[in-house]
Amino acid sequence: MSPERSSRRLPVIITFVVGLMLAIMPLPDYLQAFLPDWLALLVIFWAMQLPRTWSVGSAWIIGIVLDVSYGTLLGQHALALCLIAFVTVRFHLLMRVFPLSQLSFTVFALLALYQFVLFWINGVAGISAPSVTYWGPVIVGTLVWPFAYMFLSGVRYRSRSRA
């Protein structure tokens, strides 16, 4: 790994660490049902922008870290993140040219897929969890997406111009 490439990775890693901090922030229960899945949004963005560096493998590792910090079944978030990273990388060229409305809809579908996989694994493993406000994070995540996108694009181009 050349030093030039690893220096370009650092900003991305920092966004993931900040995302993890946001994800494990202790908040009251009623707020937590409406928090977006920050790491899912980050995985979608970076898999779309830099699909060669941030693809299914890194998504899987982030998922394992998330599983450990949430205390969920080891591999549950890993599998879900890995899947949405796969879809994003597969269609990243298409997604890059999508207008904002269409991209938001795609992100909505990806987040729904993410939640569905988590929910489904809970169901198969016999871990009981009611399903109604599983939609909260999906909808809020979609609404947050344009802002996250603008912010992360800023991070991306600033770090590139500095390097």
């Binding site: 299914v56 450990v68 205390g71 591999g75 599998l79």
Partner: protein
């Protein structure tokens, strides 16, 4: 693979993406299987957990800083120390006091039996809550002491008012605990008034427990105090768990519909106590 061969000329094609994703999904499934069935993966959890620990501390820092700022602006340094000490002391005293009601009832039962044995006093230790689970349907906590301090899986956790939960994962410096209100948690309890034994099951709601296995003619009514019966082995006996708030007897149904409110303030605690209970058997063996 066949479909992607046509894309070989495409500069944006990511090599072996399909293969990689299938391998990772299989790996996830294997890992999940072993994590669910057996606990062979504790090592992974502990290692990754230790790596994430600084992040957890950093997330918790603003909350701590806020608390610290609040204290230092309202009182002087020595007052603050005194306050902290008194609070910790009160917590410990309350924990001993809360067993009093249970002890009274038990004392009355045992008075007739001359060979009443001395109760074993439990060791307790205060731990701070570092984080709560972000998933609203799993009532989990992360506390600031771990296997380094002798925490073990299944250990009982109480606060000043009653039982909070039990440890399910032990890291080196942190431990994860499940609350009694978690939908997957069940706890053997008895009615303090008459010793009726049953199981209190979490509902996923922070302020409600269900007692699903009580027959319609069971002697239980609203206001009854439920205490741990100690029969499950994980919890020492006699700690308050919940107060019954409604008993609905439905004719034609085998079981009554009984709900209870947890005695501990499950969503308000910042500090909890871990109990090292000495099992009754070893005390008998020593005699």
């Amino acid at each position: 693979m066949v479909a992607s061969r046509g894309n070989n000329t495409n500069p944006a094609r990511i090599p072996a993406l399909g293969l990689r994703v299938i391998a990772l999904i299989l790996l996830s499934i294997i890992v999940m299987y072993f994590d669910h069935r057996e606990n062979h993966l504790d090592v992974i959890r502990r290692t990754v957990g230790a790596a994430v620990y600084p992040i957890q501390l950093a997330v918790d820092a603003p909350v701590r800083l806020w608390g610290w700022l609040g204290q230092s602006t309202t009182s002087r340094n020595d007052l603050e120390l005194e306050l902290g000490r008194l609070k910790a002391e009160r917590l410990l005293t309350n924990a001993r006091l809360q067993r009093l009601t249970a002890l009274e009832a038990e004392n009355a039962r045992l008075r007739s039996l001359l060979e009443a044995r001395d109760r074993v006093r439990d060791e307790v230790r205060v731990a701070e809550i570092l984080a709560v689970d972000a998933n609203p349907y799993e009532h989990n906590l992360i506390i600031g002491i771990g296997s380094r301090d002798g925490v073990y899986n299944g250990q009982a956790i109480v606060d000043a008012d009653g039982v909070v939960g039990q440890v399910i994962e032990t890291g080196v410096m942190t431990a994860q605990a499940v609350l009694i209100s978690d939908a997957d948690h069940a706890l053997p309890v008895e009615v303090n008034r008459n010793g009726l034994r049953t199981i209190a099951v979490g509902t996923g709601e922070i302020d409600r427990l269900d007692l699903p296995f009580l027959p319609n003619n069971a002697d239980i009514r609203a206001g009854d105090l439920l205490v741990t019966s100690g029969l499950g082995g994980a919890f020492p006996a006699g700690y308050p768990v919940a107060v019954v708030n409604a008993v609905t007897r439905i004719p034609h149904e085998p079981f009554a519909d009984v709900t209870a409110t947890p005695a501990a303030a499950l969503d308000q605690v910042r500090e909890v106590m871990l109990i090292w209970s000495q099992p009754q058997e070893t005390a008998e063996d020593d005699e």
